[in-house]
């Protein structure tokens, strides 16, 4: 496992180098700004993945009442928020370059901000309940409620409205409009960020388990 973690470091270093040096800049973007897609989209993808993991573990907690499931769900939401904020910040930088303003009230910007508020409320909710069992139950129920809204905010709302946002990978033509180097680096980024998330999820869950063990 240690070797795999080391390899992930090498993989991400290679990915970062490739993202800056291999693909040519894309059509319709100012200068080299299209390279932000290699970091921005994987962050948004990883945030969605994290919120789905949180929903799965929340459901598992409600069925089995195992506190470890609650630890993983809470860790997944924290990490999902981290990746969502990075996606929002990188998106704002891109918006400044392409559209002249950090914030344009674009449907995708707004829906992602709502997503951050939605899951930010999960953390406030957890902090508001003292009893650990009750906290885990309420948080799990809320995570499932948020998971119903999440696909609408990430995948549906921005697609049914007019948007400044560049075409997404899942576009109306049903084609991935990228040349081979861009496609390779892009999907390598998705894999790398997902692996990084899993490692961080494992660390945060283990830390939560230790905190719980020490508090008993």
């Amino acid at each position: 496992v240690r070797v795999l973690k080391g390899l992930l470091g090498v993989y991400m270093a290679a990915f970062t180098g490739a993202a800056f040096l291999w693909p040519e800049p894309a059509q319709g973007f100012v200068g080299e700004s299209s390279r932000i897609v290699f970091f921005h989209v994987p962050c948004a993808w990883t945030a969605s993945l994290a919120f789905l993991v949180a929903a799965a573990y929340s459901l598992a907690y409600l069925i089995r009442r195992n506190p470890r499931h609650d630890d993983v769900a809470a860790a997944a939401v924290k990490l999902g928020l981290l990746f969502a904020v990075i996606a929002l910040v990188t998106g704002s930088l891109f918006a400044r370059i392409m559209w002249g303003s950090y914030w344009n009230w674009d449907p995708r910007e707004s829906s992602f901000l709502l997503l951050i508020f939605l899951y930010g409320a999960y953390l406030f909710l957890r902090n508001a309940v003292d009893d650990p069992d009750r906290r885990a139950t309420v948080a799990a129920a809320y995570a499932l409620f948020a998971a119903v809204l999440m696909p609408f905010l990430v995948f549906v709302a921005p697609r049914v409205t007019q948007s400044l946002h560049p075409q997404t990978v899942i576009n109306p033509q049903g084609k991935i409009l990228m040349d081979t180097p861009t496609r390779v680096v892009f999907f390598a980024g998705l894999v790398g960020f997902s692996a990084l998330f899993l490692w961080m999820l494992s660390l945060e869950s283990r830390a939560a388990r230790l905190r719980r063990r020490q508090s008993v």
Partner: protein, 59 residues
Amino acid sequence: VYNIDLTPRRRVAFRFPEGNNAGVGSLGYLAAVNVVVWGGLFAYLWRLDRRLSEKEREP
């Protein structure tokens, strides 16, 4: 609505429009910042992993 795809075009110099984003310099600068951020993150995660393993081994 912008209709943009990610097919390549010829390589151009990394230059923002005049007066826009004056604080950002070059591709090399951005790559260096990325390497530092990634290096720092991995060092932190590696150290955290090791410390957690030590704590988990404690009775």
